[in-house]
Symmetry: C2
Subunit: 359 residues, 2 copies
């Protein structure tokens, strides 16, 4: 769909169209890669307080926990979720207050305010320990003026912003994979300003840290939030007024970047997945993968803002919030895996403890 035909529509509709199409593209690419595996389950849902969503979920049906049986099924993916949600409602005063801190345009607003949020969120946990887990999320947020109850009018937009990112979590380090993932995202960022990729890359390295372990969740990617027409602290820190001036500022130019980033997902990840799914593996590699999945659970339940926000929100759809958790995870006391000098596991740990520039 060419941008010209959609640009006259309200942004919330443009975003809904884009994430719906992107979700279809991604699910269909993942299904095509593994035609013998079961299809993704499409799970439509409505939100009582307003809005809808579509969860597309991959799991091997009625799985036994027997590793032998699982291997026999031999699917490329072990668990995956590609979700969109388009919801609206009323933000309570404490949430409004918190958002005011990041959005100058909200500075005179108090009390409850209507919000709209649309986003796509995906997680892919492949079965082969040599194929990395990937996570991607793009979202659009609007706060509007209150309108009289029962009115069909939409209030004036008083604040809006985009957020998102994508990051790669391998159990074994393949430098070419890390370079490819970062380079593809950098190429999508660069037309939108030279400061974009470095700013988002650094933010990602700082965000996905399992603080109590002193290690990153994975080899990074991009992370950003609160991107709108107001001055952005991260760009000001990264390159001063100039960096902030050069990055996109309008809804249309930021959305154009979001589309380029969203469309970069398949080219950033599918080649990696395709070249790792047949890598020979053994019980040690599987054990290490499950230990790393345990770390993934630790990050998501202890630190991830989206997950914790979801868990603490009454009425949130918990199955969708926790779709990011792996099918299986493992914890060992003082495991030797990861600390044996010269091992492949230790080589990954080195990078998780000292994030690198990949492009």
């Amino acid at each position: 769909m060419a941008m010209a035909t959609t640009s006259s529509k309200p942004m919330r509709e443009q975003v809904e169209e884009f994430i719906s199409k992107l979700q279809e593209d991604i699910v269909s690419a993942l299904e095509k890669l593994d035609p013998n595996a079961p299809a993704f389950k499409r799970d439509d849902w409505l939100r009582a307080q307003g809005g809808r969503g579509l969860s597309c979920v991959f799991a091997v049906p009625d799985p036994s926990v027997s590793e032998a049986a699982a291997t026999a099924q031999n699917s490329v993916l072990e668990k995956a979720g590609v979700n969109i949600s388009i919801v609206h409602g009323i933000l309570p005063p404490p949430a409004v207050k918190q958002m005011r801190a990041d959005h100058g345009s909200m500075k005179d607003l108090e009390g409850s305010l209507p919000f709209f949020a649309a986003g796509i969120s995906l997680i892919v946990h492949p079965r082969n320990p040599h194929a990395p887990t990937v996570h991607v999320n793009y979202r659009y947020f609007e706060i509007t003026e209150p309108v009289p109850e029962g009115s069909q009018e939409k209030g004036k937009i008083v604040a809006w912003w985009f957020g998102g990112g994508g990051d790669l979590t391998p159990s074994y380090l393949y430098e070419e994979d890390a370079k490819h993932f970062h380079a593809t995202h950098k190429a999508a960022c660069d037309p939108h300003g030279a400061a974009v990729y470095p700013t988002f890359k650094k933010w990602c390295d700082e965000y996905f840290v399992i603080k109590h372990r002193g290690e990153s969740r994975g080899i990074g990617g991009m992370f950003f939030d609160d991107l709108c027409d107001e001055p952005h602290k991260r760009f000001l820190e990264a390159g001063g007024e100039e960096a902030n001036a050069q990055r996109p500022h309008t809804p249309e130019t930021i959305f154009a970047m979001i589309k380029d980033l969203g469309n970069a997902f398949l080219p950033s990840y599918m080649p990696i997945l395709e070249r790792r799914i047949h890598t020979p593996s053994d019980a040690r590699a599987r054990r290490w993968q499950l230990l790393r999945r345990g770390r993934y659970v630790e990050f998501n339940l202890v630190y991830d803002r989206g997950t914790r926000f979801g868990l603490l929100t009454p009425g949130a759809r918990i199955e969708s919030v926790l779709i990011s958790l792996p099918e299986t995870a493992r914890w060992e006391y003082g495991s030797e895996l990861g600390s044996e000098e010269g091992s492949e596991e230790a080589r990954l740990m080195e990078v998780l403890k000292n994030p690198r520039d990949w492009v």
Copy 2:
């Protein structure tokens, strides 16, 4: 060791002696139950900032993740930890401030203060899905007046309290097990005041709740904290001045109760473990057990105060903090297990959603 011979010692030494002996008793009973399994690993550690600990950990060495191999090894336990720690140091001002809220005797104290903490903490995850997980923790805390640097003196005790509890987490409900666990703890509580068991039981039901699931972690037990000579809110709520007056108030009488509770662990749990470890099981039961272990992980990482305090404390011994996590846990999107009417899994869920009185 008779109480008379130890009562002249400072409480911190009495507690250290008691938890050391209790740890030995418990580890040795678990080892005797399964003489063909590997022994617990004894892991002594020193805390740089002051103090020591001993972690006794059970795990099958170098395990494959193959279920077949694990079953072949056939140990009663899958993962277990029985830990003691006896540590001291300086509490920073924010921690002192937080403790002031619960301890009137600290109301005029500000800044940093020396603390001493000794406790035993145990978790047992048996392999058989019909044998329940158990968790127990007893601890003693002291805050003292500051002493000049380098002084060998111990400052005057300005606040002290005991805390602890024990709770049972089955994957399948056996009412006789729930009754036995509660009845054994009630019998240990009752000599110390009629209000003790009901107060601790209710507190436990309120504490071990996975709020985002609207379900309890398990079938409860006892939970308590901040037990000292000051009026205790929970007892006042449970039965007014009379209930608060009847429960133990002095270090000696509270410690006598702690000893009775600690010593009740083996009789409360071992008979249950012994009668469930040979129950025939299948892949469905194992899958359900692993899903319930996923819920255990959710509670511990999202809500458990001790775990979160440990994760957020710089320099904490993460391996000991996270020993409570199961060896393996599982997450499914919209699993049918637990919601099929009339199933054994649904029978457990009913009790987790509506906690019951067991004695």
